[in-house]
């Protein structure tokens, strides 16, 4: 007996309606808005098409956006080199047979499950110029001249938030890399040992090449996460001092909901979408490749 005709639609309709009304149609409208001067107050009849003006302004004349893009790029470099480097190092060390690996793994992963608001408050306290532990520690260590208002000084604000972000995310990448390391069969290393490969050679010739697909996935996840960074900047500095910590997402947010330039904000969102789309596509290709191997 075949399934009753039409019953499939009852199963699929609730999800489909919600998804079309709240994701697909709004996304489509963003493309349209990005070609207009929409400001959130205008009636539809007053809406004017401005062609590609928003995009041209965005790519050629918006200085704040330029600063935000540059900051995002700096963020990305730090996360990819320092953040992922540390994650890989920790994963390699925890993949050894030593005591306490489970506990270390659990502790390093802990910041991942904590809300970014709580993280911002705790680190905001540590970085506080008057009562914060960082300045107190520097004083005690005789490095009094290094103390400063970490988040209020435009030369240290960005790097401070980036390091907090690395503290929060390193455990996540570490766990993914660790899972990757554990799929490498031990007989590969034994064969290497028989051929006289030392630890360094074993790393460069066996571990690293076999880990490239997983490193690729971690890289894409990191880029993806970094491009969407919002909470900690919004809470800790609000993009300041000046525009020192402004990033892509805080720009979109303030253009859309503070300045009410929704048409322009839409063009920023479209730009973000294009970048993320290619990244997601690359990730899909990579996981497919990993599966077929």
């Amino acid at each position: 007996m075949a399934s009753k005709k039409g019953s499939a639609y009852w199963f699929i309709l609730p999800a489909l309606i919600v998804y079309v009304v709240l994701t697909l149609l709004p996304s489509f409208y963003t493309f349209i808005y990005s070609l207009t001067n929409y400001d959130g107050i205008l009636k539809l009849s007053q809406l004017r098409f401005v062609g590609l003006d928003n995009y041209i302004y965005l790519l050629t004349r918006d200085k704040q956006m330029g600063q935000a893009l540059l900051n995002t790029l700096v963020w990305l470099v730090f996360q990819l080199v320092l953040g992922n480097g540390l994650a890989f190092l920790f994963a390699l060390l925890l993949n050894q047979k030593i005591r306490g690996t489970n506990l270390f793994r659990a502790v390093i992963f802990l910041p991942v499950v904590i809300s970014s608001v709580a993280v911002s408050f705790v680190w905001g306290f540590i970085l506080d110029p008057q009562v914060g532990d960082l300045n107190k520690f520097l004083q005690a260590a005789g490095l009094g001249e290094w103390t400063r208002n970490w988040l209020g000084d435009s030369s240290t604000a960005l790097i401070s938030i980036i390091l907090v972000d690395i503290w929060k995310s390193v455990g996540f990448n570490m766990v993914i890399l660790l899972a990757g390391l554990q799929t490498i069969p031990s007989d590969v290393y034994e064969a290497g040992k028989i051929d006289g490969a030392g630890p360094w050679r074993a790393f460069t010739r066996i571990t690293f090449p076999l880990m490239i697909p997983v490193l690729g996935v971690v890289t894409i996840l990191t880029v993806n996460g970094t491009l969407r960074t919002f909470d900690m900047v919004y809470i800790l500095t609000g993009g300041g001092p000046g525009y020192a910590t402004e990033v892509l997402m805080t720009r979109i947010f303030s253009e859309a909901f503070t300045a009410n330039r929704m048409g322009y904000a839409s063009s920023l969102a479209v730009l973000l979408f294009v970048v993320l789309f290619f990244l997601a596509y690359a990730q899909l290709k990579m996981t497919e490749q990993k599966d077929t191997n």
């Binding site: 489909l16 919600v18 709004p26 050894q96 809300s115």
Partner: protein, 276 residues
């Protein structure tokens, strides 16, 4: 050779101990500060505690109206999870187990949602939510969370459902099972592992989310815990011991949950990245 090896292992152990201590330090500081009196706060921040001022917690709980925020957070998280499980498993059931016209196209439509960042739909979504009268409304927030979980949820659950042998459905139908009974009595119990993964992943994301409640909720009465913390700054200014007590309270549920189901949480949260 052997001695060299144990020394090497001891060094790694000490290094990782140091790293763990560094990672844990801010959280220990938070708890330590939350138990200090205001005077102790300015005397020594680094020093150990002489006495525990648990009254900070009582004060914060009452003054910051935390009970209300907690109940909002619990309602939003629980209702969103229920909605997600219901909508995702039923749609996945149709896609993975039933034949219907347009099945492939429907799947692709959902699947493409994985590539759409929330920010792309954000501005018009606000207009839709306002038009439906769901701005500053917990149900509106719940609806958006359910919506956001649909694409990846279906990808995860439908993929898992396809691994259940089709013969099961055929023999169930022979016995006169309707689609609804098949879904409820056979498929849903069989896919429990993937449902648990989905719930863990979404539970932590929704409980911790700041962006959406910040965007969609405007009055204190409707605030969830994460946005509620923001108002601590207004209530307690720079009285750090009270601020930290407040933040600690909001972290307790997640930390407790993590302490006991750490393995599942780590597995669930990284499931999206490492398939299979």
């Amino acid at each position: 050779m052997l001695a060299e090896k144990t020394l090497y292992k001891k060094l790694i152990f000490l290094l990782m101990l140091g790293v763990s201590a560094f990672v844990a330090y801010p959280l220990l500081l938070m708890i330590g500060t939350s138990l200090k009196s205001e005077n102790e706060l300015y005397l020594n921040s680094v020093g150990l505690l002489n006495s525990f001022h648990f009254e900070n917690y009582v004060r914060v709980w009452q003054e910051a109206r935390l009970a209300r925020m907690f109940s909002n957070s619990i309602i939003v998280t629980a209702a969103s999870l229920a909605g997600i499980v219901l909508l995702v498993t039923s749609a996945s059931f149709a896609i993975a187990r039933l034949r219907f016209k347009g099945s492939r196209l429907t799947y692709l439509l959902f699947f493409s949602g994985i590539f759409i960042p929330f920010q792309l739909s954000m501005v018009p979504l606000m207009i839709v939510i306002r038009a439906l009268g769901l701005y500053n409304n917990l149900f509106g927030l719940i609806l958006v969370y359910v919506n956001l979980a649909i694409p990846f949820g279906i990808f995860l659950v439908a993929g898992y459902m396809k691994t259940v042998p089709m013969e099961l459905d055929e023999s169930a139908r022979m016995d006169g099972c309707s689609d609804w009974t098949l879904y409820r009595k056979i498929i849903v119990p069989l896919i429990k592992p993937v449902t648990v993964t989905l719930i863990i992943l979404q539970c932590i994301q929704i409980w911790n989310d700041f962006f959406l409640p910040n965007l969609l909720i405007s009055t204190t009465a409707n605030k969830t815990v994460t946005v509620g913390i923001m108002s601590f700054r207004g209530t307690f200014s720079t009285t750090w011991n009270l601020l930290m007590a407040g933040v600690t309270i909001t972290l307790l549920p997640v930390m407790g949950f993590y302490l006991f189901t750490q393995k599942y949480i780590i597995g669930g949260m990284t499931a999206g990245a490492v398939k299979g």
